[in-house]
Structure formats: C-alpha cells, structure tokens
C-alpha cells in the first residue's frame, strides 16, 4: 500500500506534474513538495509526489552504498 514509484517530471502545470515512469506517463500532485522542476526525479504514492531524488544523488548512493558496506566489512 505504501508502494511508491520513482519517475521523472516532464511537465508542470500548477500543482500537477506530468511524470514519466520509464514509459508510463501519469499526472501527479506535487503540492506536498517545496519546489519541483522539470527533470527532477520524484517518488509518487497514490498520485502524490512524497519526496524528491536527483539522478546524482541516486548515482552517489551506489558509491555511498559500496563505501558503507566496506566500512562494515572492516568492523
């Protein structure tokens, strides 16, 4: 039920963004987020964007992930 899907914002019309989930395009309400721009990645739950993530953050998170794992390995 708390399933939420990441997608990229293609267009913004007031409180509504057009979000592309890897080919499936749907509208989402963005009023729960401070600022959203075209090209941002958002996580959408029941039609509302609940949080934002950027491409660089997600890429970094793989690097952070590897680093965290190796730190744990050395523990």
């Amino acid at each position: 039920m708390c399933l939420a899907i990441p997608g990229v914002v293609k267009e913004i019309r007031g409180n509504i963004a057009v979000v592309d989930y890897g080919g499936v395009v749907k509208e989402a309400d963005i009023s729960l987020l401070k600022s959203v721009e075209v090209g941002d990645y958002v996580i959408v739950h029941v039609g509302y964007a609940i949080t934002k993530l950027t491409e660089s953050e997600a890429k970094e998170s793989i690097a952070t992930w590897k680093e965290a794992l190796e730190r744990l390995a050395g523990f």
């Binding site: 039920m1 708390c2 399933l3 939420a4 990441p6 990229v8 890897g22 309400d29 009023s31 729960l32 987020l33 401070k34 990645y41 996580i43 739950h45 029941v46 039609g47 509302y48 609940i50 949080t51 993530l53 491409e55 953050e57 997600a58 890429k59 970094e60 998170s61 793989i62 952070t64 992930w65 590897k66 965290a68 794992l69 744990l72 390995a73 523990f75």
Partner: protein, 361 residues
C-alpha cells in the same frame, strides 16, 4: 533514466552477503520489518534463503489493508447497502468484514468503485453531483498527506471520508511492549519514513533500546540495512540509522506533516489481529467534521469479527507465525479465495508468500 540496474548488481549482493556472514558469525539475529513492500522485496528476491541461517527476518504489521478492522469494513459495507457510492483502493475491495466484503456487496448490486487516489474520488464526485460518495480511506503515514491535502483544500459537498488511516511508530512501540516477541532490531519502512522523517523513530532506541535502520526497497538496500543492524547489535548500541538517504531525510516531509496535523487528530484505534493501539490512528479534526462519513451518516462503531475461526492472521500480522505454519495456507486460504485478511492484499504476508515462495511437495 536513473541507473536502477546498479541496485540489482549480483556482484554487490554477493559482497553484501559475505559481509553479513562475517559480521554475524557465531551469533543469531532476528530482525522485524513492518512494511508490505519490504516483504515483497524479501520474498520476491529470495533474500531469506540467500541469507545465512543465523539471520531471521520476520514480517510485522506492515499491510494497512490487513490491519483494517472488520468494524471499518462493516461501516463501508453498510454505506454501500444504503445507496452511497463507496470508493476505495483495489486492495481494500476483498477485505473481509464481519459478514461481507465490499466486493461481495458490489456483487449484490451495491455501488463500489475502485480508485487510484483521492484525486480520482474528487473527480468522480464532481461528475455526478446527484449521488453521495464516500471514500474509504485506508493507509499508513505515507497515504495520510494526500487525504489531508485535499480535505484542507475542501472536498465536494457530496463526498465524505470514511477514515481508517493508521500510524506506524505507535504499533512498533506496542510490539516491543508485548514482551513475548523476540527480535534484535527494526527495519523501518522507507516510504513511511520519507514522510515522518528518521527522527520520528528516536523513541524506539531511546525508550526500548531497540536499533532501527530505515531501509529502501531494492534487495541491496535491505541487505545493507541488515548489515547495519547487526553492527549496532554487536556494538551494544541502539540508534536510528538511515540507509535510504536518497529518499529520506532526518526531518521528513515537513509540508506533509503540517498538513496531516492541521487536518487530523491522533486517536486510539482498533488494529485487526492486534487490538486497540493507543494513539495509532488519525481522525478528522472537528473543523473538518462535515466531511467525516462517521459524523455525516451517524455511524456507530460495531464490534466486528476480526479473525474468523481457524484463521491465524492475528499471529501472522505480528510475526509470531509464518504463513506456512498456518493449517489453512494454500489449502482453505488462497489469493483466489482468501479466508483471512493477510491473504487478500498484494502486500499481505500470506499473499506474498503464496505468490513468491516455493510450494513444498
């Protein structure tokens, strides 16, 4: 697009399992998650069989449909029988009430429609102003802000909310107070946390000495979170750590939190299979009572039949029993013909186990 394929790297998963094996050597660890989506990740990717035998993962109450009590379903059924159009998420359609589910009342001619969000419910209500619509609002902290946002904006006059929203942290606390459930750490749900923030879990290590790691939903997220939990336990520490930093901040989504507290009061509510949990539910505040279906239609809380004879959902929901240990699993209870609520929802522990785990022969 985002490089999500990196999150499925075999090589990294293998390394994570090696690290977990090394960290956990010679000891046993049991961790509980409280999220239907985590259960999907864990079961779909076979993580329980990949992890060393000394690591046990148990599923707690993370499926909102499963914990919605029969009395709430009974209220929705009564409204549909009374000629109201009942709108709800697809998952809620077949949840058993004391006598009927919404799917059954629909089959008998009641008007019950599936919607994807409250926005869709508003559109439907506006399109048919001569009809009375009720949105059966099931969900956890993640779903509450969407309802709050629309109630704060004002709903159409012919739409009201039958609210069954529940909060995650109070039930996590309740399980720790039960005394007969034994586990060493919580894997906290990522999308609930995107709303409430990492800081919302502080009470769990502080008051109960229980480690918490907020986890994302890729198999690698779950594996790293398990390694982080093991490390905390071994160090004799208990704190809130955030593995899912790409989506969850310490303070969470403040706009969403403010909307939820503007529109809702916290209330003590019934959880199916668990009982009444203090301050674990949301109720529309008095200033929004005109959109509360319970007020509008003067609904009385019934004493519903939550667990039918022979059903073990009350034990599965709190992680005391695995679906395979229930005598009805795969025989008298299947996703096509669910007997108990844990088999109904796509996120119910029994439903997930039925779809993804090996059938024993």
């Amino acid at each position: 697009m985002l490089a999500f394929k990196d999150f499925r790297s075999r090589e990294l998963a293998k390394r994570a399992l090696e690290v977990i094996e090394k960290l956990s050597a010679g000891e046993s660890f049991t961790f509980m998650h409280v999220c239907g989506t985590h259960e999907q990740t864990i079961t779909k990717h076979g993580l329980r069989s990949l992890l060393p035998e000394n690591i046990k993962l148990i599923a707690g109450p993370g499926c909102p449909v499963c914990v919605t009590p029969a009395s709430d379903v009974d209220a929705a059924v009564a409204l549909a029988e009374d000629g109201k159009v009942v709108l709800t998420y697809g998952d809620a359609l077949r949840v058993p009430g004391s006598e009927l589910s919404l799917a059954q009342v629909k089959a008998k001619g009641g008007e019950v429609r599936v919607v994807y969000s409250i926005r869709e419910a508003i559109k439907l209500a506006k399109a048919e102003p001569e009809k009375e619509f009720v949105f059966f609002s099931i969900g956890l902290d993640t779903t509450a802000p969407s309802i709050a946002a629309e109630v704060a904006r004002g709903l159409p006059a012919n739409l009201s909310i039958l609210n069954a929203l529940r909060l995650t942290v109070p039930v996590m606390e309740l399980l720790l107070g039960m005394g007969d459930l034994h586990f060493e750490g919580y894997l906290a749900p990522g999308h609930v946390s995107a709303i409430i923030g990492a800081r919302a879990y502080e009470v769990i290590p502080k008051a109960y000495g229980m480690p918490v790691v907020i986890s994302g939903f890729e198999p690698l997220d779950v594996l790293l979170s398990i390694a982080m939990l093991i490390k905390q336990v071994k160090e004799g520490e208990a704190r809130v750590e955030n593995e899912y930093t790409r989506a969850v901040s310490c303070e969470g989504n403040v706009i969403a939190q403010e909307l939820v507290s503007r529109v809702f009061d916290v209330a003590t509510v019934q959880w199916r299979g668990i009982g009444r949990v203090p301050f674990s539910g949301l109720k529309l505040r008095e200033e929004y009572a005109e959109w509360d279906a319970r007020e509008r239609y003067d609904l009385k809380e019934s004493r519903g039949v939550d667990i039918r004879p022979g059903c073990s959902c009350h034990l599965v929901i709190i992680g005391k029993l695995s679906p395979q240990e229930c005598g009805m699993f795969r025989s008298a209870c299947t996703p096509a013909k669910p007997y108990g609520p844990c088999m109904v929802s796509q996120e119910g522990t029994c439903n997930v186990a039925y779809r993804y785990s090996q059938q024993e022969v």
